[in-house]
Amino acid sequence: MLRSLFTAATGLTAQQLNLDVISHNLANVNTTGFKKGRAEFQDLLYQNIINPGAPSDDGTQYPTGIQIGLGVRPVAVAKFFTPGDLVNTGNDLDLAIDGDGFFQVTLPDGTIAYTRAGNFRIDKDGRIVTNDGYPIEPGITVPADALKITVGADGTVTVLQPGTVAPVQIGTIELARFINPGGLQAIGKNLFIETDASGTPVTGAPGTEGRGRIVQGFLEMSNVNIVEELANMIIAQRAFDINSKAVQASDEMLQTVAALKR
């Protein structure tokens, strides 16, 4: 029946997805280490009513022909790993990464997940863990009598114990870096896992090979920019509105056609 009706429907679906992505960004505006997404669209297929370059009746060529596009489709929700703002918290186990790179944590099933959220805690066994209890990789255990934990920019973790003056190193935090972090799969809880698209992680000491340095006492906020998201929201909503008008218009045309035969 009417092509425009279905074309407009693809537009409505696309803008709905756009709003979904924007809402998710806004919902996580205060989530530590959250990275914003952006819905990307492409135009769909084209139906060639008259092929461009086809011969016309006058012996000339149609320079453009008639190509009717069939709408739009989402192609990606691209993740953007631009840095978020660093906020000073003063907490010893709040760590931020100044540069590219991810903290590595071990999931209960043994796989390694990656995160930019550096709000770590100490569990009952003294291990450094995320808020969900996932231990940092390589694992670091803090002695029970530790007075103060210091994390250096290069990832070395040292503690000061009672009765001593020299800090003792208890481990080193390693960071992982990906060629295409946009290809990482978000699995919720601020965690990402490696995929075929992201490439394999290159792990190493912070501050080397483009891996960022660690900043103790700071947290990385989300990189969501509220003003930008609200502007995008308005655009998405209006685009949705206008596509619904195209549905209305198609409906009106159908009505007109139906009135042809009384």
Binding site: L2, R3, S4, L5, T7, A8, G11, A14, N18, R38, E40, F41, Q42, D43, L44, L45, Y46, P52, G53, D57, P63, T64, G65, I66, Q67, I68, G69, L70, G71, V72, V75, A76, A78, T82, D100, I179, N180, G182, G183, D196, A197, S198, G199, T200, G210, I235, A236, A239, I242, N243, K245, A246, A249, S250, E252, M253, T256, V257, L260, R262
Partner: protein, 239 residues
């Protein structure tokens, strides 16, 4: 029978194409680098096959038949700043070249990314080409792209992005175009920006209203022809 009915019918179906084109523009109002389709109808001696003689008293009515054509409006879309180093927008003319299997296709949708093998790719995974039609490899942490397309990786020059002028432009979907290359384009590449579609909601709405009203009017003319036929059959000859 009544040629009027067939003439109005072509008018109505052309309006339908026009609304199709407008609907496609509206559906892609948020598509990066989309170039709108402009529909134009014209008079065409489709049925008579006879050239129009200006000022002649006897003009075949069928010469009024509509026929449509359509072109791609390549005017600049709105530029939007994103600060993402792989977002590239073209200000001015030109298209990026990408490789799809063994074909070179073109796009204005510059929201690129880097794949696991360090190639610069579109969001659909097609490799972006440099001046010599080779895929662009970006191996480094600091990527700078100058306005003329020159790439600097960690401060070292690493080729130049191809920007071409195109003739015989044709939409093939997925934000890609086919065309014949017509030399280097003079547009400038802006890093950290993307080009939105060049669809203007106001003019599309106006065009849509026009198309619908025109469709309505043509339908009424068709109805009149129908009434004429009815009268001829049932009133003139009462047997």
């Amino acid at each position: 029978m009544y040629k009027g009915i067939y003439i109005t019918m072509t008018g109505m179906s052309m309006r339908q194409y026009e609304v199709d084109a407008v609907a496609n523009n509206l559906a892609n109002i948020n598509t990066t680098g989309y170039k709108r389709q402009q529909f134009a109808s014209r008079l065409y001696p489709l049925l008579s096959g006879r050239p129009v003689e200006p000022n002649s008293i006897y003009q075949d009515a069928r010469v009024q038949t509509y026929f449509g054509t359509q072109y791609i409006d390549t005017s600049q879309g709105v530029l939007k700043q994103t600060q993402n180093p792989f977002d590239l927008a073209i200000q001015g003319d030109g298209f990026f070249a990408v490789r799809q299997s063994n074909k070179i296709l073109y796009t204005r949708g510059g929201s690129f990314t880097r794949d696991r093998e360090n190639y610069l790719v579109t969001q659909a995974g097609l490799r972006v080409l440099d001046e010599n039609n080779n895929p662009i490899v970006i191996d480094g942490t600091k990527i700078e792209i100058a306005k003329d397309g020159s790439i600097f990786i960690d401060g070292n020059p690493a080729g130049r992005i191809k920007l071409v002028k195109l003739n015989n432009l044709r939409h093939i979907g997925q934000s890609l175009y086919e065309g014949t290359e017509a030399g280097e384009a003079h547009g400038q590449i802006l890093q950290g920006w993307i080009e939105s579609s060049n669809v203007n909601p106001m003019s599309e709405m106006v065009q849509m209203i026009q198309a619908i009203r025109n469709f309505d009017l043509t339908q009424r003319v068709t109805l009149n022809f129908d009434q004429l036929a009815q009268r001829a059959v049932s009133e003139i000859a009462r047997i």
